[in-house]
Symmetry: C2
Subunit: 462 residues, 2 copies
């Protein structure tokens, strides 16, 4: 694999243009208005996999959006790598905050990306990182460097809970059998300091509806005499945290594993500047659970955040109305051992219990997923670390991420194999935000590093 | 005026059709998208006034929407009645909750309106009630029954704070000089029990903006470590009421006049069924300030209600985002002696003071108005009561309303005359709500009653 660097620089422009074409399709899984685009993206990924050298590729129907599957089996006795990624993207709104159209990709340089970055929804999460694996496969097959079997499973519902993927995996254990699962859907510390994500948070996501009077009312004639659903919802949301920002849902922390001081000290070694963090977000003060650092709050601790709230008159000017209904989307990030379904049930029970008689409350679960921790002593982790060390010149640092990839825990349960999270994005890439981007350096470095993982993993498997 | 009843029933259909035409114009003053419609409505009102017998009518330009003015002076030595109304309407949203298009009026019968009611935005508030006065004038002029001078002042910004009206009144005291001001922009107890509104609440209306991070963030990577503006806004809103639903803004109650037990006992005599009230709104329990009845809470007590709230992802499905900003529209209903501007300042000071350092807060005043109380011993009130007694067969009951007509206090200050609030709507007419309507009975009864007010007022003025 000595010529991998040369191969990447030789095909650089084509690699970028192919990704840009893929990014032009608005595959927003959360909004049914884009359903045809999501399906078209699946077809584009299938075609890319065949071109990259898969012997068989297929669009696997599911109850939801299809799974794109592809494989190249060179020898049943050799190890098999299962690559997972997703071709759906987050909604782009608020679109008005994008400097360029979210589905009209352009390459611009930034402080963090002097070689340029591709700006588009999905550039990093996850089309760009998924496509690195397609191009790495192209290199290995075209150059006769593929050292083992490979399977691809690319889904279209990651941003809405991967429920169809779970359905698919449970029914295809044989087809998906593998020795290691490889995913690039996370980040690394910086372009000079690679890291491997060894922990993920779980997720419980619910939508709540508070109903007061059966119709919107004049706030003068009724104000003060009836429960205002917006005021009540605000009160209920406020009560979900105490003065130390602990979550007040009974039983919420029961399963939370407390890390040892040693582990916390180990985590604290990762380079981090609170000042730089606050400056990057333009905030005067950080905020969170008492007794934990910023990096602990967003990785090893569970959280509860309102992701959206709406009710009453939100148009121009003033309307003196008491709304009939108020709504909120609320998500909880969970740590390993907290079970998503159990937490969702605890939330629903508690939220209904704190509602005053003067309103009616409905809690609708959206989706969830379990947390996950990868041991750093398995060969998958070691192979990945050796690959990073070779291409970046320094070893990777193991890191807990605050994000969730709900299906990683499912993979281990159903497929009995470990997942290695080789991320090449940066926290500053604004995934889920306006102006999401992915560094050209990171994209190409990923394509360069992935084949080495295959090489070392096969060597270590012997 | 013996033939008034006959005249009304003879012209009933035309009176209805003329009002329906006026209701078809969507004069939503809060939304600039409708500005041309608002202006067209002013022209339509001007034309209606000339047809009804005004000698002079004009469109008076202001910094905002124009005031429609009309007058008929028959003898400078006779008393002058100044009629006030507004031709603008509330926004119609949520439009999807209307059973028929808000600006495509239809007449349907209801339990409360067996003779039918006109369903349209503005049917009751205030186009329908304002147009009763136009038709009453038509009767008096066409039948030679006008006993005094009359002036009309119809504005287009009542639903957004009447700021241009204040500007106009301050500059036209001479033109607007009068002996009594007559307004139909309130309600009555029922179609068998008329009432006259003797008190109005003031209003302070603000919009608040809470800013956390400078961009939307991924709730997994940042959740728990940064202040979520929606959670913070909810906390701040919740803290504005204590456990007894008293408002916690320091100084908020300082100017509030406490009614004597006698006055409260007098109020309590008005027919009212809490069960019927709760059933009408489909609520299991009323809600409000401890120590006061439902009718006291919505009339003699000040309130604080969130009229609208929004932030984050409010679309279909789930988006795991921490919003950069959250917003709310908040209004406070004030009682006589509470000064709107002072309360707005108290709110802003308090709201900024309770914001954690981790967010930035902006408070923008929308508009306000002062409360008002009419004595029941002046001839204006007595003439109105005699008119109701004649047409309804029973005397009217004096009633405090929870609503606000911000300019009534201004009229007394600038024009030195009392305002009589002859309302013909019902609380169930759903003003400011979807499916606003106005009873055909109420509309015609108003046209029948108003001329009698003129007659008795002139007689009592001698």
């Amino acid at each position: 694999m000595e010529n991998i660097k040369a191969y990447v620089s030789q095909h650089k422009d084509r690699f970028l243009n192919e990704l840009i074409e893929l990014l032009k399709i608005p595959s927003v899984s959360a909004d049914s208005a884009f359903s045809q685009d999501v399906l078209n993206t699946a077809d584009a990924v299938k075609e890319a996999l065949s071109k990259a050298g898969c012997d068989t590729t297929e669009i696997c129907e599911t109850p939801g959006y299809p799974i794109v599957y592809g494989e190249k089996i060179i020898d049943p006795n050799l190890p098999t790598v299962l690559v997972y990624g997703h071709y759906d993207v987050q909604p782009a709104d608020p679109v008005e905050l994008w400097d360029s159209p979210p589905f009209d990709p352009i390459i611009k340089t930034t402080d963090k990306h002097p070689d340029g970055a591709i700006f588009a929804r999905g550039a990093c999460d996850d089309k760009g990182q998924m496509y690195m694996h397609v191009k790495a496969l192209e290199y290995m097959t075209s150059q006769g460097e593929l050292p083992c079997n490979v399977k691809f499973m690319v889904e279209g519902e990651e941003e809405i809970g991967s429920s169809s993927l779970a359905w698919f995996v449970e029914r295809n254990q044989e087809k998906l059998s593998n020795d290691v699962i490889l995913i690039s859907d996370t980040g690394m510390i910086s372009n000079t300091q690679p890291s491997i994500t060894t922990g993920l948070r779980g997720l419980s996501y619910v939508e709540v509806e508070v109903t007061g009077p059966n119709r919107d009312l004049h706030s003068g004639l009724y104000g003060g005499a009836v429960a205002n659903p917006i005021n009540i919802l605000s009160k209920m949301i406020a009560s979900l945290h105490d003065e130390n920002n602990h979550i007040t849902i009974p039983g919420f922390y029961d399963a939370v594993e407390e890390l040892s001081l040693e582990e916390r000290a180990e985590m604290a070694k990762a380079p981090f500047s609170l000042e730089a963090y606050k400056n990057a977000l333009d905030i005067d003060q950080e905020y969170g659970e008492k007794g934990y650092t910023t990096n602990e709050r967003n990785s090893i601790r569970p959280t509860l955040d309102v992701n959206g709230i709406w009710g009453g008159y939100t148009g121009e000017g003033a309307k003196t109305v008491i709304a009939s209904k108020a709504y909120a989307k609320i998500s909880m990030r969970l740590v390993p051992n907290q079970e998503s379904e159990k937490i969702t049930a605890l939330f629903a029970k508690h939220f209904e219990s704190i509602a005053p008689k003067a309103v009616k409350v409905k809690v609708t679960p959206h989706h969830g997923g379990e947390g996950y921790v990868t041991p750093i002593d398995n060969i998958g982790y070691k192979a990945a670390n050796k690959a990073y060390t070779k291409t970046f010149g320094v070893p990777a640092i193991p890191q807990r991420s605050g994000g969730s990839i709900p299906i990683v825990a499912l993979f281990e349960r159903e497929l009995k194999s470990k997942t290695i999270l080789m991320g090449f994005g940066l926290d500053s890439d604004a995934i889920h935000s306006p102006n999401e981007h992915f560094g050209v350096f990171n994209y190409l470095k990923g394509i360069e590093t992935i084949p080495l993982f295959y090489k070392y993993f096969v060597e270590m498997s012997k």
